[in-house]
Symmetry: C2
Subunit: 455 residues, 2 copies
């Protein structure tokens, strides 16, 4: 029988066809000939069987002629959640992958991020990254911007304009001896973070929120970490940072914070590990540190493309799951070269399979599990699973309309009677933005783009 | 100064712009504002500097108005060489990746290959795979078909019709206890192989040749291997097979051929290792076996997507290169899910970087080296480097015209003054068929397709 809430708002859209999503219990749930209603607030009002359409149309007051029927090779899946992406680094995505993390930051990354004091440059890059990730099916993104408050506010505005759900972080760093031109003082960090949060919240964007963003321990003093922990706590905000990406970095942190028993404890003692915290990477975390993640409700963003491309380390996803740490996937542009969450799914599978080849104890992820990490898992990692991540009644309708047989697309179908699971697997392995024919965030169609009115 | 042969044939086309290719000495050679002439036989007649155009036009007798000028974000690169692809398995590409090799063959592969006795099914799949790989920039493909002679001949015809350079193998297997419906007798193998070779050669296709194809040792008797070695030798033909893909397979082979000192020796004693042999995978070869590869001139086709997807094994490419074994890349559709050589380049880099993370002795491949493997390396692996693989004068013009800024494509350019190396690296990491705006094989433009006349 159909799931639904008692009708309180009007129905805006009704879709009929195949819906594919994940639940806590089932990594891949395929609902064939389903009927899903979206209310005028963009929330999922009901999901039931196509055969129940008469009763549902009476209960919810829509006419059968309003139903949008998906085609044979189409399905809806939840929008994907990119739990870690550096919007500012999109300008050099696909290049500069020939050195390890710390050298890579100094050589390529800091000089580029520094350019974001120029708001026109920022507007160009941020518009491209928001449009590109939306086209790629990222309905929710957790962004690092740069240290520049106004450019970071602009990223928030652009995400809002294009209708993407986003957490936006103005980056904080008060230590950077290797690139002194790119840092703030402790006081600037504090004041600008407060200004960033206040101004972004004052816009009342429905889907875009600030996230407290210490870059990572090597560029933050104890004093800064402490203040950011306090700001987050006092405003009940999300927190994001990096942890244990690369062994050289881990060693550096242990040298900078000699009285801390682990990298994780550096953040923990400043109240930066909360159930609204997402930490990127974690390749080299010990089991004790993973336990602390679970106990504090802190999540991990697994960024396999980046970890491979920069030769950072190989996260054992199976071990993270065993420790019941909340886990999402991230593209980590531009350490990861691809701004597509489909790439993150594929690379997570690859890495997991490679670890399984080397040690069968590391049971490889299934494609169903990788899909869940990119959708429901990501929403959990960002503590947003109460309103996105799958097709539960009451959640926002964040969805991709996928046409596996999109003309001119990357997928050839030989068997025209392939079932939905086969079509879905082909899309996951071979599909791209050409297959993602429509993208919805909170019920609003955001792809194809309607060109924003000229400013 | 320009390189050229003394003009003997007329010039058909002249292109001016950036040309990027590999040589034995240099993995990535970028020629800016170069001028390349293709003669009426499809061969590269000269390559020089744009500034030399007046002299070259006099020497070769073309007018300056005939020069095709590439746009700012365009370049030419050599067509890519897929050294191992199962054309018949394209029908399930992107699915069925959840079990190891031997079970995968029995469960998914043999039942599908069996269907190729139906010529209409074969025509549908083979047309799709030839078109898809051409669009993806594969100008040369080394194909496994199935055991069916007529369907294999049809694959040769389709490759010829669309203008792809191809080796086509009718698969031979006279043992297959786990799928008895899909094998031939020793006599059938021999007779049908002879018929396949004779009929394919009788067509006199300029670019499509037969390749002797024992599937792999576990499905071939000693008698069959011996006969195929002889057929190849008597007709001076190419040979392809699989070797040492998965540990279970290696164990099986050592059990089936107990008097052979290694998997490599099983082939070697039947004269199947020659300088026209390409063996797929080789993940688990010993250094002694690699040495035998080098001594016999046998090459390896590295298929990283497949090796990862089926959890087969992790080829140490650096070690293969150290042993000076000829090496190309293969998609190995459908153990590899992608029919794109760009994917093979990326996965080869990934795997090499992962092995480098685990042991810095395994120096990671550079993207320049991976590019060379996909072009010049592949042509060497197929012993075709005398007429394809790079832009040397006298070779056939097998080339991709790449537009990094193709409208609606996957790449965003922020800096409009990016140099050609940056553009090239973006294409290699992020590009797809949308960026490959034209494909040439032996001078003939084969993409965009000119629809073949109806039969």
């Amino acid at each position: 029988m159909a799931n639904f809430n008692r009708p309180t708002t009007e129905i805006a859209h009704v879709y009929r066809g195949t819906f594919i999503h994940s639940t806590e219990q089932t990594a891949l749930l395929i609902l064939e000939d389903a009927l899903l209603g979206v209310d005028t607030e963009g929330k999922i009002a009901f999901i039931g069987k196509g055969a129940e359409r008469d009763r549902l149309s009476q209960t919810f007051g829509f006419s059968l002629s309003e139903i949008t029927q998906l085609a044979q090779h189409e399905f809806f899946m939840p929008g994907m959640v990119d739990t870690h992406i550096h919007a500012s680094q999109y300008s050099f995505a696909g290049t500069a992958l020939d050195m390890p993390l710390l050298q890579w930051l100094n050589t390529y990354t800091f000089p580029v991020e520094y350019r974001f004091k120029d708001l026109e440059f920022a507007r160009r890059v941020y518009t491209q990254v928001v449009k590109r990730t939306l086209r790629n099916g990222t309905t929710t993104a957790c962004y690092f911007a740069t240290i520049h408050t106004d450019a970071s506010l602009l990223l928030g505005q652009i995400a809002n304009d294009f209708g993407q759900r986003a957490l936006v972080g103005k980056v904080c760093m008060d230590m950077n001896n290797s690139a002194k031109y790119y840092r703030e003082t402790l006081q600037e960090c504090q004041e600008e973070t407060r200004r960033f949060i206040a101004e972004l919240l004052s816009k009342k964007y429905p889907l875009v929120k600030p996230v407290v963003t210490p870059r990572f321990a090597p560029t933050c003093t104890d004093a800064l970490l402490g203040q950011l922990g306090e700001i987050a706590k006092n405003n009940n905000l999300h927190i994001q940072s990096h942890i244990s990406e690369n062994l050289e970095e881990v060693k550096l942190v242990m040298g900078l914070f000699p009285d801390s028993q682990s990298y994780t404890h550096v953040y923990h003692r400043h109240n930066l590990l909360t159930d609204k915290t997402v930490m990127a990477h974690g390749c080299h975390l010990s089991n004790e540190e993973l336990t602390l993640f679970r106990e504090t409700g802190t999540s991990l963003s697994h960024c396999p493309n980046s970890n491979i491309s920069l030769c950072s380390g190989l996260l054992n996803v199976r071990n993270v799951l065993k420790h019941k740490v909340k886990l999402g996937l991230g593209t980590d542009v531009a350490g990861g070269y691809s701004a597509s969450m489909l790439d993150a799914v594929r690379r997570a599978l690859d890495l997991s399979k490679i670890l399984a080849v080397q040690d069968p104890e590391n049971k490889a992820l299934t494609f169903e599990e990788a899909f869940r990490l990119a959708t429901l898992g990501g929403s959990q990692a960002l503590s947003m699973d109460d309103h996105t991540g799958n097709f539960e009644v009451g959640k926002d309708f964040d969805a991709l309309r996928v046409n596996v047989a999109a003309p001119g697309g990357p997928i050839d179908l030989i068997q025209h009677d392939d079932g939905p699971k086969t079509l879905f697997e082909k899309f996951l392995n071979l599909g791209d933005d050409r297959n993602i024919v429509e993208v919805f965030v909170a019920g609003r169609k955001v792809v194809p783009f309607t060109e924003p009115t000229p400013e």
